[in-house]
Each structure stands twice: as structure tokens, then as C-alpha cells.
Amino acid sequence: MLTVKGLAKSFPTGEGAVRAVDGVSFSVAQGQCYALLGPSGCGKTTILRCVAGLDRGEQGSIAIGGRVVSDAGRFVPVHERSIGMVFQSYAIWPHLDVFDNVAYPLEVERPRVARAAIEQRVMDVLALVGMETMARRPATRLSGGQQQRVALARAIVRRPSLLLLDEPLSNLDARLRDSMRRELSTLIRQIGVTALFVTHDQVEALSLADRVAVLDQGRIVQEGAPADIYERPKTLFVARFLGGANVLAGCIEERDCQGRVRIALDGGGHRLTLVAEQRPGARVQVVLRPEDLTLSAFAPADDRNAISGRIAGLAFQGSNVEYEVDVGGALLRVLGRTHADLVLGTPVWIAIDMRRVAVFCGAGEPSAADGICRV
């Protein structure tokens, strides 16, 4: 449905041009929901705007539904592309009411769409997003969630081949975001439209998309199904970006014939034993997700899978508490149940589910720039 090949675009800055998009290729199958995930400034919005035709890439090609809309010699202007777009600000026109906002794409369509057909289609799509009773409400009197629905209705009313969504939920408050995310997911699947959306929120990407591309500095660093990316991050960047993870530096002490390694963590004298590919002597970064860690006040039976520390901070979050545990030089974030005994300064043990620990090569610390440590 959508094929992007070798897309590149740079922006001039004070110190020369910056490659905002640096040779990005991906394709989205018919009916698929595809997410571009990355931190701000990673180039994801620029890609979306190039697909829409609001920006023009310097290199590469874009094809929508088999039709090349942008390459070296060709550029189909935005209004001639079969797209619908939901903007980050929703861009609901304040001088028009809900109905007129949604009717607009049909009214500017050539050849003209009959008035009766316009009314029918607008009311249908308003019903779809649950706004049919507010058709004549002025745009200036809509809540955030309602604006989002209108923006979505306007984007899909002319049945585009491709639906583009630019940070569709970032303008909503946290509570509304959760319910709108579920609603959006249902809607996109219900109408079966091919969708491409960008977001910086990993929860949004993982829960909405069929496929996710993680971007960093204008390049796709990993692409795959959400579960796949979450379970098997290829790089430290992806692991960090997806999990809000703890990262500890260490080095491989030894390796047995079954592929298990013992890692000595920097600072605290703690050791972990787990399956990893790195050779003895290599500097590594160990990624521990907060939800894979279990806090207890006593040493577990198998202390090879546990490290000890002291509670250095805690933030009450209702049913859970986010603890910060000082494990000798490093602070680990651990999610746990509220526990009366665990107060500031309490010595604790953290049990680690070793199957879920990811290990990456690399220094991370300036002291071991060579990537090798003495055993």
C-alpha cells in the first residue's frame, strides 16, 4: 500500500545541514497499522509529512497504492494524494462547525459530490466516531477528545487509501489518552484503512500498531511486530526507549560451555549469571526492566539471581510503589506492591528474571572506552 524507499531530507541549521531523515525505507501492507516510533527530533514527523506531500524528500521515492507520488523527477502535490491526515493539533477550523469541518474534503472534491451524498457520508462518519448529535456544534466549543474525533472523521470521510496520524494522542490528558487509544484502535480496524502514524510514546505504538519502526537520528534502527521489538530489542537505544529500563554497566568474567556468562557489575561487586553471546573480557550494558525485578526484604534462596541494595527513594503511585534502590553506585528503578516494611534506607534484595535480561556490547562509561576489561 505504502512503499518508502531510501527517503532522505536535511534541514539547514546554524552549523550546516542536518540530516533529519537519512535513507529510510519501509513498506506498509494493505489494512495494516504502522507506527514510526522515536524520540523528538528523530525525523519521524518529517517522514510522515513527506508521505503526505507537505514536505518533499531530497532523495528516495514514495509510492501510495502502487502510484509513485514522489521521486527524483516527480512530485504529486498534497491535494492530489489519496490520503487523510490527523494533525497533532487536530487543526479543526474554528470558523466552521463540526459538520462543515467534516464535510470539507467532500466539498472540495472534483468532480463535485452531490449535496445529499455529502450529508449522508458526513453523518455516517460522525456516527462512526460518536459525534452525530453534535454536528452543528461550533468547533470552538469542543473538548480535546471531541476535537480528536472530528479530526479523525474529517480524515476518513473521503475514504482515503492511506490514513496518516501525527502524534494523534499527545494533545490529550493522560486519562483521556487511554480511552481514546482503545477507541482509535477499534476504529482503525473497523474501517480497515491502512494507517501510518508517528508517536514518541512506546505504549501508543506497541498497543495500536501491527508493525513498529523505531527511529533514531533519521534512521530506522529496528522494525518488527510490537511484541518482537519489546522482547528482543536489537540495540541498547531500542531497549531503553521501549522499556524505561535500568541500564547497568559491567564486564563478562567467564563463560561456560552452555553459553552462560557471569557478569561483574561495576561498583557494587554484584554478579549476574545468564545466557549471553559476549566473550569474557567484553564490556557490556545490562538492561533490566522494572517489571522484571522483584523486591524482597530477605535474601532469595538462589542468590546468583539477586542483588542487594538499600532503598534510596520511593514514589507512591496508588496500588504500586516505584522504588529507587541503591545497589552500590547505581540506582535501579523497581516497581513493587506497597509494603509497610520497605521504607527509606531499608536493606533489600532484588530478584531478577534472568530470561528477560538483555545484554549489549559497549562501554557506556568513559572509563572503559576500549570495550575490554581486565578479568
Partner: protein, 572 residues
């Protein structure tokens, strides 16, 4: 952001036409001016057969002693004096209306705008009726009160009189510029001073003024430039006082008492003026950009909390009333009275002095009806042209990435730096040289008026800044072409800003006196020029009647203007 090759054909066409029109209306007359300055002999047009290249005009400019002994000093004193007085008045009024609990602020706001709305000759004539050395009302009153004889004590026909009148006329302009600045100042800054135990006066001196200082510099430069461009009062009040400023001198070269017009000398004299104007404008732009970044001005709508005047309320009211009396109430009264009673005075007049003869004469005058039609026709047409072109220029400058957009920005700002007398001269030279029969017509006035893009462009830019770019992009992603986006999204959203610009330009057009005077013919007379002619030919009552009619027409505009302009955008 739109690059040129991303725009569709209609868009390119429209933008090309707009760009061409803007350059034609501003740059071509200026280019003619430049040519004329270096072509001679004196009474030849630059491209007339027999004309040749020459430096004589520029040489004359540097060697003519009159310029150094009279024109430069007179211009300098006039400008400096006017700026100081007008700034003091304008700032004081703006502070009282915007930052204090002065009673009836809305009424003051409307009344203060009066001098800005009526043509300057109306004011000049009214002030001559009030402050003429012999029969001026104020002089008669003062002499009666103090038992003096002879003439005076106030003599409007003096440098002091000219400065006072020009300052009264220009103060509302500063008032508007500064009231916007004062409105966006965080009131907490002043409240903190009050909470520290400072009196309103101390707060004003120790907090308000220093905080605003960077924001005051830019308006100061603008008013300096605009004062230097003034022509109407220097002609009507300054000339009898033998005060000789630059703008008048240019007019004089075109209309010498006893010889042929000297186009070359007028053009050469204009050049340093234009250069100075451009330099001041560049400084102004730079300062504006800096003032915008000044942290205390956020532009956010603060909930207005005003400084309580307390015991100062009475003096404050008296000051505001003094200005409004001198600048609006008395001028309107003296005009209306004179139109009915001629030279008879309010206290001694009898019903026998009352007469409608002045109006009868005026209505029987063909030139009055022609002038009425021309005034509105030209003001409307030029306001439409400039609003359309300026609005699209604003779009190009703020929304496109087209390479020449900075040039357009500069060209449009340039229009502030072109005095009306020079704009008139440039257009005159152009259409005297072009054999298309526009000279002397109403159309030439429409063209000549239509060079003031700066205000509309600025208003439009400010308007576009408030319209999220995605509102425009959403139209394109909905499948709309550029023209449909313009018509269905941009124009409706820009309507407030555009209509403010339109009203402003319409008022400027109705007020215009200098351009139609320079380009005057029997057929294209406008009311302001007719007023001056009547006054010059010694017909005080008909000229007062005409001035009264103009005021009556303009007064309703005040209320429209107050709502649309002042509150919204004027100071952009």
C-alpha cells in the same frame, strides 16, 4: 512550508501577479525618482526627448545655502520638538487609559482617536480658527480675560505653534502604539512595586518606565520618521510662518511661484529623504525584533489589574480632558460654529448671524460632489487593492520558503519610509512619462495611494502567526487546491485582521491630502484638497462647512475603528 515548486499553477500565478503588483506600485515610482534626479535640464521629464544625464541637481543640493541655513535647521527643530511633545502626550494618555483605573476609559479611547481619523487640513484650519493671532477664539478669550490689547498672546504661525499642532495631531498615533505595549505588560511587575510600598507615581518612574524602555525606542523611531514625512501642517500652518521643511520644499520645487516645475531638483531633494527613511526603518525593524524578545512582554492576555489612581484621579482626568478639548472638542466646535455663524463669536452672536449660506454655496459647487465621490472611490479602491496585495504578501512572507520573500518583506516595509509627497512625485514622473493618459485621472490617485503595504502586510503576518500552520495543511490533506484553501480557510480565518487593515487603509485614504494635491487636476479633486482651496481663497464659512461635513462622516467610523482596530491589532 511551501517551496515554489510545491505550489500548484494557480498559486504560482496569483503570487506572481501579487509580487509584480507590489513591485510596480512601490519600486517603479521610486526608480523614476532616481532617474529624474540625474536627468536634466530642470523642467524636462527624465525620458523626454532632449533630456540628458546630469549631476546638476545633486550638485545644487549640496551647494544651495538655503538648505543648510533654513531647511535643515527648520526640519530638525520641527521634528525634534514634535516628537518630544507628542511622545509625552501619547505615552501619558496610553498609560492612563491602559494601566490605571481612569474613569470612562472607553470614551477617552474613542475621543483620543479623533485627530487620527480626520484629514490634517481639517485640524489645521480648526486650529487656525482657534489660535490665529488676531481672531483666534483662544486668543480672544485670553485677551478678554486679562484685559490685553493687540494680537496674541498665542501665535499659531510660529515654530512653537506648528510643533504644538503637529504634536496634538500625532499624539494619538503614539497612543495606539504604546497602548498595545502597555496592555501586554505583566501587571504583576507594577503590583509588586505597589506591594513594596511604592506610590503610583514612584511605581511609574521606578518600574513601568524602565521596564518599557526597550519597547519605547521602536515607536520613538517610527514617530520620528513619520513626523519628518509630514507635509500638511507645515504647508498650512508653517508656510505663513515662513517655516521651510524638507517635504514642503519638494512640493515647492514642483509648484514654484513663478517658473516651470523643476522635476530634477524635486527628485534630487527626495533622495536623501528616502535614504534616511530606509535607514531609520532598518533600525526600527531591528529594535522591534529585540523588543519582541524582551522577557516581560509575553503577549498573553493578562487579566487586567489596574493601578488605583486615588487622589491623582482628578489631575489625571484634567490632563486627558485638556488634550481631548484641544485636539477634538474645540476643533469640532469651532468648525461647526463657523460654518453657521462665520466670524461672529459665540457670546456676542445673535440669531441674525445664523446662516445656512455656507452649506448652500458648498452644495451648489460641482467640485464638492465630484470631490465627495472621488474621495470615497479612491479610498475604497486603494484600500481593497492594498488589503488584497498586502494580505497575500503576508502569506508569502510568513508561510512560504520562496527565496525572494525577504525582498518582498523589505519592499513592503519600505512603504512606511516613503513620504506621501515623494510617493506623489514618483507617480507623477511615471505617468507624465507613460503615454497612457492616466495623468490627471481618478485612477492615478488609486494607483498612487496603493503603496502603503506595510500595515496590511504586518497585520497579515501577525494574523498568520495566530493561525496554526496545520489548519492550512489540513485543507491540503483534505484534497483542496491552493485557491480553495485560500478562499475557504485562510480568508475566513484572516477576516478580522484583514478587515482591521482595510478600515485603517480606508481612513488613511479619506485623510489623504498630499498625494491628491501633488497630482491635482480639475477631475480628480478630493475633499481634503477642496477644503484647502476654499480656505486659501478666503472662504472661511464654506471651508468650515466642508470640514464639518467631513467630521460628521468620520465620527461614526471612530466607533467602528475603536472596536475593530484599537482592541485588536493596530500596533502590530
Amino acid at each position: 512550508m511551501h517551496k515554489l515548486d510545491n505550489l500548484d499553477l494557480t498559486a504560482k500565478l496569483v503570487l506572481a501577479v501579487v509580487t509584480g503588483a507590489a513591485i510596480y506600485l512601490i519600486a517603479v515610482p521610486l526608480a523614476m525618482l532616481l532617474f529624474a534626479a540625474f536627468r536634466g535640464p530642470a523642467d524636462y521629464l527624465p525620458f523626454e526627448p532632449g533630456a540628458r544625464w546630469t549631476l546638476e541637481h545633486v550638485q545644487a543640493l549640496f551647494t544651495d545655502p538655503v538648505i543648510y541655513t533654513r531647511i535643515l535647521p527648520d526640519t530638525f527643530i520641527f521634528v525634534a520638538g514634535t516628537v518630544v511633545v507628542a511622545f509625552a502626550i501619547g505615552f501619558g494618555l496610553a498609560w492612563l487609559v491602559e494601566r490605571t483605573d481612569l474613569p470612562a476609559r472607553e470614551i477617552w479611547f474613542a475621543l483620543i482617536l479623533f485627530p487620527l481619523l480626520v484629514p490634517a487640513p481639517v485640524l489645521a484650519i480648526a486650529w487656525i480658527f482657534l489660535m490665529g493671532p488676531n481672531a483666534g477664539w483662544l486668543n480672544l478669550a485670553i485677551r478678554a480675560a486679562l484685559g490685553l490689547d493687540g494680537s496674541g498672546p498665542i501665535n499659531i504661525f510660529s515654530m512653537g505653534g506648528l510643533i504644538l499642532c503637529q504634536a496634538l495631531a500625532s499624539a494619538p498615533f503614539i497612543f495606539l502604539l504604546l497602548s498595545a505595549t502597555l496592555r501586554t505588560m505583566d501587571p504583576a511587575l507594577e503590583e509588586a512595586s505597589g506591594a513594596s510600598g511604592a506610590s503610583p507615581l514612584t511605581t511609574f518612574g521606578r518600574v513601568t518606565l524602565p521596564v518599557l524602555l526597550p519597547g519605547l525606542l521602536a515607536p520613538l523611531i517610527l514617530i520620528t520618521l513619520i513626523t519628518a514625512e509630514q507635509f500638511e501642517l507645515p504647508l498650512i500652518i508653517g508656510l505663513p510662518a515662513k517655516i521651510n521643511v524638507f517635504s514642503y520644499r519638494i512640493y515647492f520645487e514642483l509648484n514654484p511661484l513663478s517658473s516651470l516645475p523643476n522635476y530634477g531638483a524635486a527628485a534630487a531633494l527626495s533622495l536623501p529623504f528616502v535614504v534616511l527613511g530606509v535607514l531609520l526603518l532598518m533600525l526600527y525593524n531591528r529594535l522591534i525584533r529585540r523588543a519582541d524578545s524582551f522577557v516581560t512582554m509575553t503577549g498573553k492576555g493578562y487579566r487586567q489589574r489596574r493601578l488605583p489612581l486615588g487622589a491623582w484621579r482628578i489631575p489625571a482626568l484634567a490632563l486627558a480632558a485638556l488634550y481631548v478639548t484641544l485636539a477634538a472638542v474645540l476643533p469640532a466646535a469651532v468648525l461647526l460654529w463657523t460654518s453657521f455663524f462665520g466670524y461672529a463669536l459665540p457670546l456676542s452672536a445673535t440669531s441674525a448671524d445664523f446662516s445656512l449660506e455656507a452649506y448652500r454655496q458648498l452644495f451648489a459647487n460641482r467640485a464638492f460632489w465630484l470631490g465627495l465621490r472621488n474621495t470615497f472611490l479612491v479610498a475604497l479602491a486603494s484600500a481593497l487593492i492594498v488589503t488584497a496585495i498586502g494580505g497575500l504578501l503576508g502569506w508569502i512572507i510568513s508561510r512560504s520558503q520562496i527565496r525572494f520573500r525577504h525582498v518582498l518583506d523589505f519592499v513592503s516595509v519600505l512603504s512606511i519610509g516613503i513620504p506621501a509627497v515623494i510617493a506623489g512625485l514618483g507617480v507623477m514622473l511615471l505617468y507624465l512619462s507613460l503615454p497612457i493618459g492616466l495623468y490627471g485621472s481618478v485612477a492615478i490617485l488609486i494607483i498612487a495611494y496603493s503603496y502603503r503595504f506595510a500595515t496590511t502586510t504586518r497585520l497579515a503576518r501577525a494574523g498568520f502567526l495566530q493561525i496554526h500552520k496545520e489548519l492550512e495543511e489540513a485543507s491540503a490533506t483534505s484534497g483542496a487546491r491552493w485557491l480553495a484553501t485560500l478562499r475557504r480557510v485562510l480568508i475566513p480565518l484572516m477576516l478580522p485582521a484583514l478587515s482591521a487593515g482595510f478600515i485603517l487603509l480606508f481612513i488613511v485614504g479619506v485623510r489623504e491630502f498630499t498625494i491628491p494635491l501633488v497630482l491635482y487636476s480639475q477631475d480628480n479633486v478630493v475633499l481634503s484638497v477642496l477644503l484647502w482651496q476654499l480656505f486659501q481663497s478666503g472662504q472661511p464659512a464654506p471651508s468650515a462647512a466642508l470640514a464639518s461635513i467631513i467630521v460628521a462622516v468620520v465620527l461614526p467610523v471612530i466607533f467602528v475603528a475603536r472596536r475593530t482596530l484599537a482592541r485588536r491589532t493596530l500596533a502590530e
